[in-house]
């Protein structure tokens, strides 16, 4: 039996998923809440970026289901109590299977069959020679190394073929379903999709889906046999670290917001509606916090946490738990430095709303302040909350990289793009250069941040009442 492990951040992820699901079900039954979301996916940009973000989210979710494997008892003695390995695995680790375990000795270039550095070896005649040794796993199935690019090309073609086949089947199913619903023939609908006439924009969505499926299928074909993005200093597959980093990035982008949101909303509305002493106090609080340079506040907090962790090793049974606490703490402290902006916006909006006649009417009816804030102010500032959550996300993902570079980000042993970039600094100075781990981090991070930025543009366009729905 395996032992399921729910790290602190995992539990928060579950809370987040539950919240989002609940909000989704709530909004689904209410047309006025459903309409803006529908408008988002009816824009090609909104639908495509949402799809890309969903791929990232599902990877992160798979990586959040953790467990520990039992250790085989030593010798024949039947052990009554099963012991568990200290290594915490996730469902994603199991799915990535071969990439995770195919560790080489040290650096090797993408698709290489030999190590990147020379080693001395004794040849058959007993002489010492400096050679580039063959990799243990990368391209190990090849008898003739010179045929490796042909092999890569064949496998890429094969992967694309599978992807196209699967995609076509999917499109066919979709066509049949749509044809049955609308009463037109599948051919007609096919034509509509091709001309981009339908809402939601099926053409863009299906093309993006094809690209994603092809990328996945090609990686599935190639990754078990080659190191697609090479290997890093300790010989670990760079593609594996890059994929594992997705969870870290998404957690920092979302959990930070989740943690700070209740405070920001409560304080912002209270300051704007109650005014007077409360307003002064809250304004003082956020100006003070804001005036401390963010990086330095984070740095001091993380330094202090590190002292605490080093002083209490008995509290953490696995390395993963230790790294996890640091990640959670980082999210919290990022939340502390980030809530001020939203709080200020909400205060301004609440100030504006509380002078409107519907609020005055509520006051005249004798509705209590707490109820006015919950029932009449909160729903009317939610669009600001949503816009700022989506806008903050990409900034936080970028911030993680910078913080890890400064040395106050996530645990140095945790997979994160910041740590990859950090180590790339020395690798770039080598001659010849080791460029692949930087590139892998760049590609995955860029796609995520770009998708998030474009998505946030669409969200802002649609939810911000000041912008025309053009």
């Amino acid at each position: 039996m395996i032992l399921p492990v729910a790290l602190w951040t995992d539990q928060l992820v579950f809370v987040l998923v539950a919240t989002v699901t609940a909000l989704f079900l709530y909004a689904k039954r209410r047309p006025h809440l459903r309409a803006p979301w529908r408008a988002i996916i009816e824009r090609p940009m909104g639908a495509v970026t949402l799809l890309v973000l969903l791929v990232y989210v599902s990877i992160a979710l798979l990586d959040s289901l953790h467990f520990r494997l039992p250790v085989k008892p030593v010798g024949d003695k039947p052990d009554r109590e099963t012991h568990y390995s200290v290594e915490v695995l996730s469902v994603l680790d199991v799915m990535l299977g071969p990439i995770r375990t195919h560790d080489e000795k040290t650096y090797s270039a993408p698709f290489a069959t030999r190590l990147f550095v020379q080693e001395s070896m004794v040849d058959t005649e007993g002489r010492d020679r400096r050679v580039y040794p063959r990799l243990q796993y990368g391209g190990a199935h090849l008898d003739d190394e010179s045929g490796r690019w042909a092999d890569v090309a064949v496998r890429t073609g094969l992967g694309s073929l599978y992807a196209v086949l699967a995609w076509s089947a999917l499109v066919l199913l979709l066509l049949l379903k749509m044809a049955r619903r609308s009463g037109c023939g599948p051919g007609e609908i096919c034509l509509d999709i091709k001309r981009g006439r339908l809402r939601p924009p099926w053409r863009s969505v299906l093309l993006t889906l094809l690209l994603i499926m092809m990328a996945i299928a090609i990686l599935v074909e190639l990754a078990p046999l080659y190191h697609v993005f090479g290997t890093d200093k300790v010989g670990q597959d760079v593609l594996f670290s890059a994929i594992k980093s997705i969870r870290t990035a998404l957690l920092i982008g979302t959990l930070t917001t989740l943690i700070m949101l209740p405070f920001a909303i409560m304080m912002g509305i209270m300051a704007g509606y109650l005014r007077g002493f409360v307003d002064d106090l809250i304004q003082y609080l956020y100006t003070t916090l804001n005036s401390i340079p963010g990086v330095l506040l984070i740095a001091s907090a993380i330094l202090l946490l590190q002292v605490y962790i080093d002083g209490h090793p008995e509290l953490f049974d696995t390395d993963a738990a230790r790294a996890d606490l640091r990640l959670l703490f980082l999210c919290m402290i990022l939340g502390v430095t980030n809530w001020t902006g939203l709080c200020r916006l909400l205060r301004g909006e609440a100030l504006k709303l509380s002078s409107l006649s519907y609020v005055e009417a509520a006051v005249a009816f004798g509705v209590r302040p707490a109820r006015i804030m919950m029932r009449h102010l909160l729903p009317n500032v939610m669009h600001i909350v949503l816009i700022s959550v989506v806008l903050d996300f990409s900034g936080l993902v970028l911030a993680e990289a910078v913080l890890s570079y400064v040395g106050v980000g996530v645990d140095p042993n945790m997979h994160s793009w910041g740590n990859m970039i950090n180590s790339a600094r020395l690798e770039m100075a080598r001659e010849p250069m080791v460029w692949w781990s930087l590139s892998a981090a760049f590609v995955l991070m860029f796609v995520l941040v770009l998708a998030a930025n474009l998505f946030s543009d669409v969200v802002r366009d649609i939810f911000d009442p000041r912008r025309g729905r053009g």
Binding site: Y284, T288, Y308, D310, L398, M428, L450
Partner: protein, 325 residues
């Protein structure tokens, strides 16, 4: 007017005291001087004598907030809080863990920081506003769309990649300029130019978008419609009316960062090995030198508060409505 300035200045005092309290709690209460000493001396086999000696050497051997053993005013002054936190208010930064005077270091290191931060700020401002004005001027053309997409793409690249890419391109590939380092006097130019270029380029994405949004919002207002209705050319509308009216939102964002420029950029300075305040801070973080980090936190907050003050003052110059009220 004078009363307004005075009032705003007085507002700054409780904020600085608050910052001081927060840093004090962070550095001395959550994490006691004993912990600090133990960390600096290494985890294992630390005797209590060694800890006490370290604390005496670095001036942490007094009680934290109240010294019950002293008499008179010294109950409050002979404490770590007074020594380490209150003294910051009069710019007495004390000594770092390796015994150097922090105030001296800051005075020395501020010049390289400013040599990079000021050009980046000024050129960046000019470039961003120009780009944004151009995009707004070419509104609803294909160039507009293309430029907006380019800005999003530029914005989505982490600043670290700009630095690594720039160093690789200009330093390693073209051998135009040294990759990193610094030199005093006029020869500093060679070392400063690359960080400045990279700083400006990495800011175009978000900066250009920000100014574009401001200009677009102004463009939608009634006075623009009136100006157009009177037959004023688009160019004149943009430069004469929109640019001037956009000054207030621009100032809000710009003036507040001017004092912070002094702090230098952590990332740029450490990548280019420039001996400024940014790399000073990073080195202190890595060496876990709390005295320096504390001083920099205080300095940063002070400069931020100064920035807020300057923002308020700048409104009175740009917007007569503020001056009159």
């Amino acid at each position: 007017m004078l009363a307004y300035i005075l009032r705003r200045t007085l507002y700054a005092i409780p904020i600085l005291i608050g910052v001081n309290l927060i840093t004090f709690v962070l550095f001395f209460v959550v994490n006691t001087p004993d912990d600090m000493a133990r960390m600096h001396l290494g985890q294992k086999r630390v005797t209590s004598e060694a800890i006490n000696q370290w604390k005496t050497e670095h001036g942490y051997d007094k009680p934290l907030l109240i010294n019950r053993g002293a008499s008179g005013l010294e109950v409050l002054t002979e404490t770590v809080f007074f020594d380490k936190s209150i003294r910051l208010l009069v710019f007495d930064f004390g000594a770092s863990d390796d015994g150097r005077s922090i105030g001296q270091d800051i005075r020395q290191r501020m010049w390289p920081s400013l040599a990079i931060a000021i050009p980046v700020f000024l050129i960046g401002l000019l470039v961003n506003i120009t780009v944004a004005l151009l995009i707004v001027f070419l509104q609803a053309t294909y160039i507009d769309l293309l430029a907006v997409i380019t800005l999003v793409v530029l914005m989505s690249i982490s600043g670290l990649f700009y630095i690594i890419g720039g160093q690789f391109l200009f330093g390693k590939l073209l051998h135009l300029i040294p990759v990193s380092g610094y030199d005093g006097g006029l020869s500093a130019f060679r070392f400063v130019i690359l960080p400045v270029i990279i700083g400006v380029i990495s800011g175009i994405g978000s900066g250009g978008r920000w100014y574009r949004a401001i200009f677009l919002e102004e463009m939608g207002k009634d006075y623009v419609r009136t100006a157009r209705a009177k037959g004023i050319g688009e160019r004149l509308v943009l430069f004469r009316h929109v640019l001037r009216n956009a000054m207030i939102p621009i100032l809000t964002g710009v003036v507040v960062v001017i004092p912070i420029l002094f702090m230098g950029s952590l990332i740029t300075e450490s990548f280019f090995a420039i001996p400024g305040l940014g790399s000073y801070t990073i080195d202190a973080i890595n060496a876990q030198d709390f005295a320096i980090v504390r001083s920099m936190v205080f300095l940063g907050s002070l400069l931020y508060v100064l920035g807020l003050l300057l923002t308020d003052l700048s409104y009175t110059f740009v917007d007569p409505r503020v001056r009159l009220s």
